[in-house]
Amino acid sequence: MMRKQLHLGLFIYPAGHHIASWRHPAVDAGSIAGMDYYRRAAQSAERGKFDLFFIGDMLAAREKDGRVVREGGLNNIDSISVTSAISAVTECLGLVATLSTTYNEPYYIAERFASLDHISNGRAGWNIITTANDDAAYNFGQKSHMEKTLRYERAKEFVDICTALWDSWQDDALVADASRGLFADPDRIHPIDHHGRFFSVRGALKLPRLPQGWPVLIQAGGSPSGTEFAAMVGEAIFAAQSKLDEARAFRNAVMERMPKYGRSPDSVKILPGLSPIVASTEQEARRKEAELDELILPAVGVWMLSEQMQFRLYGYDLDGKLPSEEIRASGQAFTPRVVNLMDRADREGLTVRACANIVAKSRSHGTFVGTVEGLVDYMQLWLDTGGCDGFNIMPAYFPDELDVFVDEVVPALQRRGLFRTEYAGTMLRDHLGLPYPQHQAY
């Protein structure tokens, strides 16, 4: 039997995942909203046989004290628009867009992903988010952001409606029989007649069943509500653990919860984020890393850290220890990423500056700095010891660092049999080895 192989996502981000990437001499920061930027990245990822291209979504500008942040942090552009644009210039690459269940209507979202799946011939994935930043509420006429438990209840009903809509056409409903003059058979198209706590939707969809049945359903993050939701609906999970033991614990936690929702634990793929900096020698990789870190403005790191911890660190000594006790006592509901970072700071005695740099460099996902072979060892260890099913690769800056990964790391992975040399199918479900949802019986 062939050995277990990695799945790879390309996690795109304007300029790069390193916060100072836009200042790097090799980066053309003015190009980050245009088609050429995304085409180039997507075509590199496809050249590297990546499973998917992934882009996030935010519904408010990044601000500090009511003003847009001067030093960096452009939001992603709209994810459905980017993925649909890329569909036309790639053949096999999976396309994962992010849309919020808190600020949208289910019919529109079902229709949008049905369209993306048709447009791309079966390459769509939906990263389902409930939106975590409070500021979004003010752009949608709300006084405050919906409370988390309620958000996940709404998300559950939202996804149920979408899957019902994707199933509303039987596979054979599109008849197009010229002799009878029958285009679509109304007996094989079923209104969903949903009446729930949050929504009433009659349906049906105005498009035939999707090439993949449903887009691949993806969940990101790993708060307790998020983990439960992931176990319930997630077919792929973009995780944020940066330590192997934590990643293994998270993966087990998701898989243990799946049977109670009638799901087999092998029907999920967990991909932690990984931001690698590689070079031919360890020393050279460190030099590349240092070159980037020198571009970080101290104000940026402290701002990002304060945002993530929901705790104002602006007055604190940069070279003093992270005041994790005070942060914990502030009583906020911390994300797992923040908890992980505070634990690490306590363990290793990290300063505010060190923590700020960690966040600024990788947005607290995993990082690796070293040689290509070292990175391959690292990825193999995570795969073979149950830490993950693959990685969401977060290049430090675009396009150079993505090209390094595609041209040097991917062949090394392939030589060890850890990664595909050709796509086995054309749809995202084929790449991820996920089942096609069977049509519910009518």
């Binding site: 909203a33 245009g34 990044r62 847009v68 644009a85 500021d135 197009a176 285009f183 679509a184 109304p186």
Partner: protein, 366 residues
Amino acid sequence: MTLHLALSLAGSGYHPASWRVSSLPRVPSARAYQSLARSAERGRLDAVLLGIPVEGSLDRVNTMQLDPLPLLGSLIGVTNSIGLAALWTVDFTEPFHIARVFATLDHLSYGRTAWIADMFNTEPLLPLIGKPRETDDLMTYCARAGEFIDVVKELWDSWEDEAFALDKISGTFVDPDRVHPINHDHRFFNVRGPLNLPRPPQGNSVLVLRDPPMATARQFVSTVADVILIDGPSATRCHELRSLAAGRDVRILANLLCVLDETETAAHERAAMLDEMVTPGTDHARFVGTPAQLVDYFATCQQQRACDGFNLLPAVLPDDVDRIIDAVIPLARSRRMFRSEYSGTTLREHLGFARPRSLYAGAQFG
């Protein structure tokens, strides 16, 4: 005066019987639309319009529609110059979504987008969305739609053109003094802003509105639209809309369903054959004839000031598009009625519109 020509794409064509004879795949195919959009670009048309529905019932008519926003997205990378317009309603959605999606599409396409702001006849969406419209009173409806569009423009403008500073040396990515929360809090919408994207290349996407079904809403449409779609050429309607626009620069394009063939007889036979298969409604003015007759018709309409151009609705895809691009356009060019090359790179330039200044240009922060 140059003619402006747009091409609408939907289903297998705008004749309700089109699917019976069309060679397009039955399942909605982005590849087919990409090829049609490239043809339209080869003809140097102003724009392709997506989302204007084919009327009819799904058991007899191909009314299937890919969501026009991702469909527009899928055309960006396979075309270079042609304008790309998508229909999305002002009902059942939020201005922030519209502003963000069209700003994205305009950035990706380097300034080629238009928003067809659908309004008035959105009742068919009610059972799909599952919540009532804000109002059914026409004047209130117009007031809300107008405020919706105001918010969208405020969001597009919330970043001044110079806001995206990108000064690597000083570390100024964005100039916060040139990004403005819009703090919109009026009758229907409360939106803080700013948008989370730099100002789009066109400043604002071109705003396309359809001539309303009720005369009382015509004043409203004339005061906000860049482009107005009317149903068939009409000097009276054009004059009325221009008076109501009160000096604003608008382009009026007439929808025209086209059934074309090499001879007049063949064209009429084709139309009759299609009509016999499925009786068409009276949704669209139609032209049946040869490419040369269509160019004559363009010239007559122009002389009569019955429109500034046309939104051509091909009866059958790809047949009528091929005839438009391969026969009608060369004839129109030979009579110097239509461009041979694009003179600009943005849709605003194709249509002869200036790029609007940001509402906030030169404003103090706050």
